[in-house]
């Protein structure tokens, strides 16, 4: 018992005597209680997984939709005035249409020439100012 300092000895004795009485069996089925508790815990765990799966699916669908929307609405890059000039690297075949060879053959010829004569065999790039050589245009329409 607690805080017995304020009770008289007779009251404390009565408390002790009453406390000796054992409450009757509540009639609860312990096994059933544990079973129901386990069942409830299982339901709760299942709901947690379901929520996680639904959340991930929603996030994935949103990401896919966003990616699709951005692909469809990507604006064409306008040319930047005063920016660095983009120089298309052309093969000798383009310069001289009469000597048209398949692209693969042009590469092989160039490779052989570089192997034989060194880097001097590479064609000089005609450019003015700061040129950025690229093999192909960035965008098909540009």
């Amino acid at each position: 018992m607690h805080e017995n300092d304020h009770l008289t000895p007779a009251e404390t004795e009565l408390e002790r005597a009453l406390g000796r009485l054992t409450p009757a069996d509540p009639g609860l089925d312990r096994d059933r209680l544990m079973f129901l508790a386990g069942q409830a815990a299982g339901r709760r765990e299942r709901r947690r997984w379901q929520a996680a799966v639904i959340g991930l699916a929603a996030a994935l669908a949103f990401a896919m939709g966003l990616a699709s929307w951005r692909t469809g609405h990507l604006p064409a890059t306008p040319p930047v005035p005063g920016g660095p000039a983009i120089v298309h690297q052309t093969s000798s075949a383009e310069e001289d249409p009469s000597s048209a060879v398949p692209p693969g053959m042009a590469y092989l010829r160039l490779r052989d020439a570089v192997l034989d004569e060194g880097l001097d065999a590479l064609p000089a790039v005609k450019s003015s100012g700061q040129a950025i050589p690229v093999r192909q245009p960035l965008l098909p329409g540009a």
Partner: protein
């Protein structure tokens, strides 16, 4: 803070199940005491975090649940409830009891409901005055005053029924 696990659930049931059911019989319908206690234990396991004071939480939840169920059955008269309470055995008679179990039950049933509630919480649930105050929503001095008054009443009633103590 104690973990919410099935091991602890079993321990809490073993330690407090009987006194919770006894308490549920005092504050609500005696026939629904088992359901009330079971419901409260299941609700405890559904908590995300264990209550700070599991014992106080259990008794307060039993009180709320029992009162709530009692309100939903207002058509039952007080007389019927008292009769139901009278039929239920509150204590298991034992040879080493210092007080006759049936006499104690009869005296308890004659107490005011508020006093009976405090006596059950104090003696059979072994709760502190602070825990009782928290459970019932009363102040500690009020709890103590009513509890002493209840003990006085019990003592007067039991004087003719008390067995000889050794």
């Amino acid at each position: 803070m104690t973990e919410l696990s099935f091991t602890n659930l079993g321990r809490w049931y073993d330690e407090l199940g009987s006194s919770l059911a006894l308490y549920a019989r005092q504050v609500g319908d005696a026939h629904e005491a088992e359901d009330v206690v079971q419901e409260v234990f299941l609700r405890l396991m559904a908590q995300r975090r264990p209550p700070r004071d599991v014992k106080a939480w259990l008794f307060r939840s039993v009180r709320n649940e029992a009162i709530s169920r009692g309100r939903s059955r207002r058509r039952r008269t007080l007389r019927e409830r008292r009769q139901a309470l009278g039929r239920a055995e509150l204590f298991e008679p034992r040879a080493d009891d210092l007080i006759d179990a049936r006499a104690a039950q009869a005296v308890l049933e004659r107490l005011d409901a508020d006093q009976r509630e405090l006596v059950v919480l104090r003696i059979w649930a072994d709760m502190t005055l602070e825990q009782i105050a928290h459970t019932t929503g009363l102040s500690v001095p009020t709890v103590f005053r009513r509890y002493r008054s209840a003990l006085s009443t019990i003592r007067k009633e039991m004087q003719s029924c008390t067995k000889t103590t050794t």
